[in-house]
């Protein structure tokens, strides 16, 4: 049988995707599809894919879907999301649901191709030396997606909540989305991205987001990947930070049979600050592969990575933490911590730091732990009358809570706690 990548390349050609009315998009797609052909689906022998086999995935038959024909029905969100006082943006099967006005710019990506800043963001990306198969695949199939822009000096008063909902129209389909979030100079905003799926059937989601943060801006971002547990989710989050900008991103992963979570902050202006936080909560047969690539390009920046995994049943986790400090990036502070709590004997996790430092005045640290619930701590709590289940939850919650500490916005903090608590209840961890 033909491999998935071969079939997707064929599909690309049949659809004539390399012909777009905008010449630079045609070129952009052609360059990307050539890279896709050249690279091929990642294998275990690729250093960056050592722990995650795509063998089963590469034999699947997913065909691309672009425009959705199913009617949008407001997805049933948990109350703690639905009741947030925020600006809700709905994206249904990859298509922006229009009809709402916002005090900032929200458009389908395609409509934004003519904007110079969008063109610049996309073309700048192609200059990167670090090529990723799924990233290039996303560039080849670029069409669906969201363009979000906060203007210079704009302060958004309420969180922006982007709801990505999927229904059965996506069963066995390949959905490619490309988002660009642009934060103008001295702006500030909070964003929650929440994705959920109505159907339990498998789909292949390839999601690429570029976050462009101009100087002196403050952005907090909470990403919740709660798609169904049969899906294949590849997420690429790239952040380009200018001078004196502050960015905090916190990913909570609960969905997917296989999820690859690439986060690539580029600290590209002096005084930029980045918190890269994440929680991977896996059960059953889930595989959650986190690939962090923190790139310090300019001096006097600070990055703090804190990723924690809670793994149950026979699920598997991966944390690959790469830090690259360029020669010019003196006085860099770069910290990385990865902690894992295994809740069952069959759960497994691989963790690997990778530091490449070319500047000489750098503070860099990394640490990783893999452990189980501390039996003595459990006894201590139980000896005070707290039931085993409750005591376990207290210890697990103490473990996961640390991940949200750098978040400042109260709405985002509340959402974090609600999502994690709800997941605990649903997952019945203590059986």
């Amino acid at each position: 049988m033909e491999k998935l990548d071969t079939r997707l390349i064929k599909n690309f050609e049949e659809r004539n995707l390399s012909k777009h009315s905008l010449g630079w998009i045609s070129d952009y797609r052609s360059t990307a599809i050539n890279l896709v052909k050249e690279m091929g689906m990642p294998k275990l022998s690729d250093e960056d894919w050592r722990f995650t086999s795509l063998k089963d995935f590469s034999l699947k038959d997913f065909s691309p879907i672009f425009s959705s024909k199913s009617n949008f029905k407001k997805p049933s969100l948990p109350d703690y999301i639905d009741k947030i006082d925020g600006y809700f943006i709905y994206i249904h099967n990859g298509n922006l649901v229009s009809g709402t006005e916002y005090p900032f710019i929200v458009e389908p990506l395609e409509a934004s191709f003519e904007y110079p800043e969008v063109k610049k963001v996309l073309l700048d990306d192609t200059l990167s030396k670090n090529k990723d198969f799924f990233y290039e695949l996303g560039s080849a199939f670029i069409e669906n997606g969201l363009y979000l822009k906060i203007n210079k000096s704009q302060k958004i008063d309420k969180p922006i909540i982007i709801i990505n909902s999927f229904d059965s129209e996506l069963d066995n389909k390949f959905l490619n989305t490309r988002n660009i979030f642009f934060f103008g100079e001295s702006s500030s905003a909070e964003i929650i991205e929440y994705s959920l799926s109505d159907s339990q059937n498998e789909y292949f989601l390839n999601k690429t987001t570029t976050v462009n943060i101009e100087s002196n801006s403050n952005v907090e971002h909470l990403l919740v990947e709660a798609g169904n547990k049969n899906s294949y989710i590849f997420s690429n989050l790239k952040i380009i930070q200018s001078r004196d900008s502050n960015f905090t991103t916190n990913s909570i992963l609960t969905g997917g049979l296989l999820i690859r979570n690439n986060v690539h902050p580029m600290l590209n202006g002096e005084g930029a600050n980045s918190n890269i936080l994440g929680l991977y909560l896996s059960t059953e047969e889930q595989l959650m592969d986190n690939y962090m690539f923190v790139e310090h390009l300019k001096a006097n920046c600070e990055s703090r990575q804190l990723y924690k995994g809670l793994l149950n049943d026979s699920s598997k986790g991966v944390f690959h933490g790469r830090i690259l400090v360029h020669e010019e990036a003196q006085q860099t502070n770069a910290y990385q911590t990865n902690r894992n709590l295994l809740l069952s004997d069959d759960a497994q996790v691989d963790t690997k730091p990778q530091l490449e430092i070319y500047a000489d005045d750098v503070k860099c640290s990394h640490g990783a732990t893999i452990g189980q619930i501390d039996k003595e701590a459990l006894l201590y709590l139980r000896a005070r009358g707290i039931s085993k289940d409750k005591a376990m939850l207290m210890l697990i919650k103490a473990f996961t809570d640390e991940v949200c500490e750098p978040i400042k916005n109260q709405t985002l903090l509340d959402a974090f706690h609600n999502i994690v608590n709800n997941w605990f209840e649903k997952s019945k961890l203590t059986n």
Binding site: D374, E376, A377, L379, Y380, L381, R382, A383, R384, G385, I386, S387, K388, K390, A391, M394, L395, K397, A398, F399, D401, E402
Partner: protein
């Protein structure tokens, strides 16, 4: 209140308790002394319900029923409290939250309504004052970064808040200076009543000047080899244990 009958316990095939008998009535304070490694902490842990031990013979009867099958939390709910020799540090769980959960779990089991955070805060602050601790303590993580003395005091604070019927103190006095020792002893004495019983494990006679026991027992190699009144503690202090060891 408590009757330990011919208790035999081992861990990984090593015999630790070898036919221990002990009866504690309501309102009594018993003290256990004994050399290092004689099985004092093992006895305390077994009473609290720690599961690492094999009980090969004997029984533990509490309030008229065997508790061997009860979990640690069920025992605590029934009114058994162990002040640990080495209280563990639990980062990320605040003292205040932990104490309220524990209080509510135990009181729920006793058929009482849980207390709201504000109500509980009042109660906790009273007890904190009694133990001459600082209020900020409630916000700190459970035992994290506490000095040895603070950890011991925290055990007694928990005891004072949870109001157990049977309190087991495992070397709570070790490592305390005389001021802290008095504070801890006051905390214990404030709980003494006709309804409550204590098992005070200690190495030093000193503590027993402040918490005066009704009975003193000597544990050697997993067995009680001698019992007496508080004067026995003084005798042990001057003569050591070797005269009892064979």
């Amino acid at each position: 209140m408590l009757e330990i009958i011919n208790l035999h316990a081992e861990v990984e095939g090593q015999k630790i308790l070898q036919g221990l008998n002990l009866k504690i009535d309501k309102g009594e304070v018993h003290s256990i002394m004994g050399p290092n490694g004689s099985g004092k902490s093992t006895l305390a842990s077994i009473l609290a319900g720690k599961e690492d031990y094999d009980i090969t013979d004997g029984d533990i009867v509490y309030k008229g029923e065997s508790i061997l099958e009860l979990s640690p939390d069920e025992r605590a709910q029934e009114g058994i409290f162990l002040a640990f020799q080495y209280p563990i540090e639990i980062p990320g769980v605040s003292n205040g939250y932990f104490l309220r959960e524990a209080y509510n779990c135990i009181n729920e089991a006793r058929g009482n309504k849980p207390l709201k955070p504000v109500q509980f805060g009042k109660l906790a602050k009273e007890k904190i004052k009694m133990l001459k601790m600082d209020d900020s303590f409630l916000q700190r993580s459970l035992n994290e970064g506490f000095s040895g003395g603070e950890k011991k005091r925290n055990e007694i604070l928990q005891m004072a808040i949870l109001e157990p019927l049977l309190s087991i103190l495992d070397e709570t006095d070790s490592g305390l200076d005389i001021d802290a020792l008095q504070i801890v002893a006051n905390g214990v004495n404030s709980l003494r009543s006709k309804e409550t019983s204590f098992l005070v494990i200690t190495h030093y006679q000193r503590l027993l000047d402040y918490i005066v026991p009704d009975f003193v027992h000597v544990l050697v190699e997993g067995r009680i080899v001698k019992s007496g009144n508080k004067d026995l503690a003084l005798e042990l202090e001057s003569k050591g244990y070797s005269w009892l060891e064979d």
